[in-house]
């Protein structure tokens, strides 16, 4: 169904249940939907599984959500950063679960969820510790591991602009995971700088077509 505009982030994230899997866009701070994450933290669901490339920077946005004790598990490629002290402390004290996924698999598994792919054979990680427990197969002389989709209940993403059809464009490398996460979630919430009239975004330059966007909010 076409996207609905919400007056503020709190209303845009309403209804996310305890235990939900939430995909959160961003690569470090670039593209991180901080206002939506803050609203999610205020709205109070617990025991969340967060799918995101990193596990929070400093004490804002995703890090603040972790600090508030709302997250049971993080699925990410790179939790450890110079300023990931909130996650580090939770992890070392055994208060958060971590699933480390190679960055390309994270992106491709989200894409697979959005594209109806049941599983795919991928060359990344063969012969490494991350191959443990995975089905391996040799195809045309090359070894692959079988990887499964990552589906999310909700995706929180940040885009540059939307039009009223929900079509999105992003800004530079802040695009990163937003477009794939939008396809992988049952409900995609996008915070944008501006919502324009239909027709104001060049149809050739749309990155996320409106079909993948359920809720829009200007921040």
């Amino acid at each position: 169904m076409t996207a609905t505009e919400y007056p503020d982030p709190d209303q845009a994230v309403a209804g996310i249940a305890d235990g939900a899997t939430v995909a959160i866009g961003g690569f470090g701070s670039a593209g991180q939907p901080v206002e939506l994450i803050d609203a999610l933290r205020r709205s109070g669901p617990r025991e969340l599984t967060v799918v995101s490339n990193n596990a929070g920077n400093g004490d804002f946005g995703l890090a603040a959500l972790l600090a508030a004790g709302r997250v049971r598990k993080v699925i990410c490629s790179f939790p450890r950063q110079s300023d990931s002290y909130v996650f580090d402390e939770l992890y070392r004290s055994g208060r958060i679960e971590l699933e480390v996924v190679p960055q390309g698999n994270l992106a491709e598994r989200l894409r697979a969820a959005g594209a109806g792919i049941g599983a795919f054979f991928c060359p990344t990680g063969v012969g490494t510790a991350l191959a443990e427990g995975k089905e391996q197969r040799t195809i045309d002389g090359r070894d692959y591991l079988l990887e499964y989709p990552i589906r999310a209940d909700v995706a929180l993403i940040k885009a540059h602009r939307a039009d009223r059809m929900g079509n999105l464009v992003y800004r530079k490398t802040a695009r990163n995971f937003g477009p794939v996460m939008a396809t992988a979630a049952r409900i995609t919430v996008a915070q944008v700088g501006q919502i324009l009239e239909a027709g104001a975004i060049d149809p050739e330059a749309v990155v996320t077509p409106g079909i993948f966007v359920d809720r829009l909010v200007t921040v």
Partner: protein
């Protein structure tokens, strides 16, 4: 008695929810578009790479680079988006379309669909996007005449033609009746100028 083709298209259009993303198959399903009111906000997908597809182009609007899946020139209303074929079919196969409307040779009581190939020895097989459409949308509506020209039913216990998809049809619109394909059987939702008894007589499918 029975619905005309135009009335049938209108009946399908009435059941498409406001704001839905919809793919209309080649042929008769295309006529559903003419019965959708712009204020319903229904957004049309064409699998050759466009969302927000407009009506058939006329005169100077015709642009050979802007066509639908039936290779008919169409228009680009405000708010459209273009994408490549893998993205377009990912959209479809990933279950993002709300409704897909397809024609059919046969539909079985279980919702199996046969609409791509007559299976005749001389026929050149050509599947196009039919199998992807059949399994992709949240709801698959079939639009067809209930009987062949020589009077054989097309809603059948088992499809005789090669299948396009298994258990994928949710609803069948015909000039005689609308059928819901449910887990426990086929339910007649509406009839047009024919009684349920008469339908039961003419079909070999259990109807409730």
């Amino acid at each position: 008695m029975g619905l005309s083709k135009d009335e049938l298209a209108a009946a399908v259009a009435r059941d498409i929810p406001a704001g839905a993303y919809v793919n209309l198959g080649i042929g008769q399903p295309t006529t559903v578009a003419d019965n959708l009111h712009p204020e319903s906000g229904v957004v049309l997908h064409t699998e050759n790479g466009m969302l927000g597809m407009g009506r058939a182009a006329v005169g100077e609007e015709i642009d050979p680079d802007l066509i639908n899946a039936g290779k008919i020139a169409v228009t680009e209303p405000p708010g459209a988006a273009y994408f490549h074929h893998a993205d377009s079919f990912a959209m479809m196969r990933g279950g993002h379309l709300d409704v897909c409307v397809l024609g059919a040779f046969q539909v079985s009581a279980r919702g199996d669909l046969a609409n791509w190939h007559t299976g005749e020895p001389g026929a050149i097989p050509a599947v196009g996007g039919a199998m992807d459409l059949a399994i992709g949308a949240k709801q698959v509506f079939v639009m067809m005449s209930l009987f062949t020209r020589d009077g054989r039913p097309k809603l059948v216990p088992e499809c005789g033609y090669p299948l396009t998809g298994r258990r994928c049809v949710n609803r069948v619109y015909t000039e005689c009746a609308v059928f819901e394909i449910e887990a426990d059987g086929v339910r007649v939702r509406e009839t047009y100028g024919i009684s349920l008894t008469e339908l039961r007589d003419r079909l070999e499918v259990d109807l409730s």
